[in-house]
């Protein structure tokens, strides 16, 4: 599948360079709920379709416009499909998610596949955002800490990180949000 670290860094750099709205370029959004329907792709996108893919396979030859005759609609779906299949495929591929933190000027992206447990994930988040998240307890949530990690699940609901087993979490988590402790109190009380 190519160098995971390399693509991770590539993606990280990509988000650091872009302070604007995410998803404004043709970068693939993994597990994103808004599947963007691109306008009819120009021949430039044809020629660039390779640059998002893994570095492992040999680079494709110079592409002829409109050849092979695959419709733009199908090409788009294949590209989107490739990215999300890779993320839900157990054997490999990154699972990049957006992480936002209340008060931070821009979002970050992390690869959930890199972590094996909640503890590792939370530690990484603490390092990335320079905050303290504290320890999870079933009864109190993250009470007592400045921030609480929450996530949006497949139903679009915002859940507290830590309630479900890790394996279930990684298949249902779509994005992360680190909430300020005062706001998060509400979640923990439910």
């Amino acid at each position: 599948m190519g160098s995971k670290t390399a693509t991770f860094i590539e993606n990280d750099l990509a988000t650091e360079l872009r302070l604007g709205l995410p998803g404004t370029d043709d970068e693939q959004e993994k597990q994103s709920s808004e599947v963007k329907n691109n306008k009819r792709s120009s021949s430039e996108i044809d020629n660039n379709s390779s640059h998002d893919q893994d570095s492992a396979p040999p680079p494709p030859k110079a592409q002829v416009v409109g050849w092979p005759p695959v419709r733009s609609y199908r090409k788009n779906v294949l590209q989107q499909n490739k990215s999300s299949t890779e993320s839900s495929d157990v054997s490999g591929g990154g699972m990049y998610l957006k992480v936002s933190m209340d008060g931070a000027p821009y979002l970050r992206k992390i690869d959930l596949k890199v972590y094996k447990s909640y503890r590792e994930l939370l530690k990484a988040l603490e390092t990335m955002f320079k905050c303290t998240i504290g320890v999870y307890s079933e009864r109190e949530g993250y009470n007592g800490s400045d921030y609480a990690p929450t996530y949006e699940d497949k139903d679009g609901d915002w859940m507290l990180v830590g309630d479900v087993p890790w394996d279930m979490f990684i298949t249902s988590c779509r994005r992360l949000r680190i909430m300020k402790g005062s706001e998060a109190k509400g979640l923990a009380c439910l």
Binding site: E34, R40, P57, P69, R71, S72, S88
Partner: protein, 586 residues
Amino acid sequence: MAYSSSTASFPEEVLEHVFSFLSSDKDRNAVSLVCKSWYEIERWCRRRIFVGNCYAVNPRIVIRRFPEVRSVELKGKPHFADFNLVPDGWGGYVYPWIAAMAGAYPWLEEIRLKRMVVTDETLELISKSFKNFKVLILSSCEGFSTDGLASIAANCRNLRELDLRESEVEDLSGHWLSHFPDTCTSLVSLNIACLGSEVSFSALERLVARSPNLRTLRLNRAVPLEKLPILLRRAPQLVELGTGAYSAEIRPDVFSNLAEAFSVCKQLKGLSGFWDLVSAYLPAMYSVCSKLTSLNLSYTTVQSPDLIKLVGHCHSLKCLWVLDYIEDAGLDILARSCKDLQELRVFPSDPFGAEANVSLTERGLVSVSEGCPKLQSVLYFCRRMSNAALVTIARNRPNFICFRLCIIEPRAPDYLTLEPLDTGFGAIVEHCRELRRLSLSGLLTDRVFEYIGTHAKKLEMLSLAFAGDSDLGLNHVLSGCESLRKLEIRDCPFGDKALLANAAKLETMRSLWMSSCSVSFGACKLLAQKMPRLNVEVIDEGGPPDSRPENSPVEKLYIYRTVAGPRFDMPAFVWTMDEDADLRYS
């Protein structure tokens, strides 16, 4: 005893009643040529019109001849627009048609459009102009947003079909679906598969629940698998279903819920969708497999073993669309299990990769041609082919009506002998006497066109790329293919001679597309002068073609017959010829 010459022997009403049984355009056109009174009677009772090229005629002419139309079908851009060969802004705007029909056909019920530019304004006009509007099908259209859909949903009280088939929609939000009023209970078919945004699930559920006639439901990717059973239970009468994302955390309760919901749908014949597939959930569908006649897995990256299992369960399959992940082995199983198969499309999973990523070769196609006696329509992308295989296929399946083969590498020869594939395709046209549509690929000389001109007498549509040696090739096709209606060519060394020699032929066809060939602007001008009932459009984004030497080739050429004269909505990069060759205008 003399019969009165000017009155029909049957009263008009009787003739009209008889004509009402004629549905095909061909028959109706024939009838209207019999005599003036039949022409009159027929034109008043024609309810359905099909315009294969929206620029071949204009709305005024149509409305004048057929005043009582209820159903209109229009096609806009040439087929090669699907592959980005037609620049944006070329044309195909439907608004003028709708504006004209809004006044003339207040009782219009059905609009079917393909490759046309539709705007929100157009959709709003449709929704407000036709009180009994029932069917809107937008196939590969563009130019509109979900706001336009909201107008349709809100205002078309008797809407039966809303089908957005692979259109490019500006997806502002999923909120439009909630505009269907509670009183709308007439839906029969809803296809929103091409939309990205999530629609309100509860609105969708309520819509489905209050549509007892719903037969076709194609969801978009954003509808999660866990919620699919809810919809299935609301619509157990569904005949065609397009799932949303077919993936969820692997949970036994979700699985059993899904399997149970599928088992309730006893009428299900067609399935599609399956984005983001998690193969563990495929068995949930097994209860419906044996009755399935149509299966579209071409948007899902399914690993071969699970796919084979699934296909093996679908003994009644007539139509299968799939990615090349099926591989030769899967096609072997298909050939053994699906004896009713009529149509097969195998799409490439990695069209731009330099090398084959899957084991799909000519063998798979040979296998299916052997095993499936009813196979008549094929679209097959692969990376190698041989004359021997093509000859075998042709002999196995003389009943092909549509044969489209795309060997991914341009000009790829027979991989065994390194010869051109002329013999192979020659066998196809020789054996398949009913062939109506053919797409060629691989290394081909003028010889293959000789075969085609000689044998393909029923061929209506031919697509060529990177083929042929000289004008002889094009000449064979234009002079030999009697039934030819549409010819599309790219990157072939065809030029002025064949085109001008067969000018008259072009008026018997719907259209001719040539791009990256060797046709000069001078020849285009000559052709336009000779043939006033053809529109000769030169699409050239490099500036005015007559600023270059007259014999330099034009980029793209689109020629079509028309009774409407030159069109007035051409963008700057489309050049047409005037009698006064010095004038250039867009």
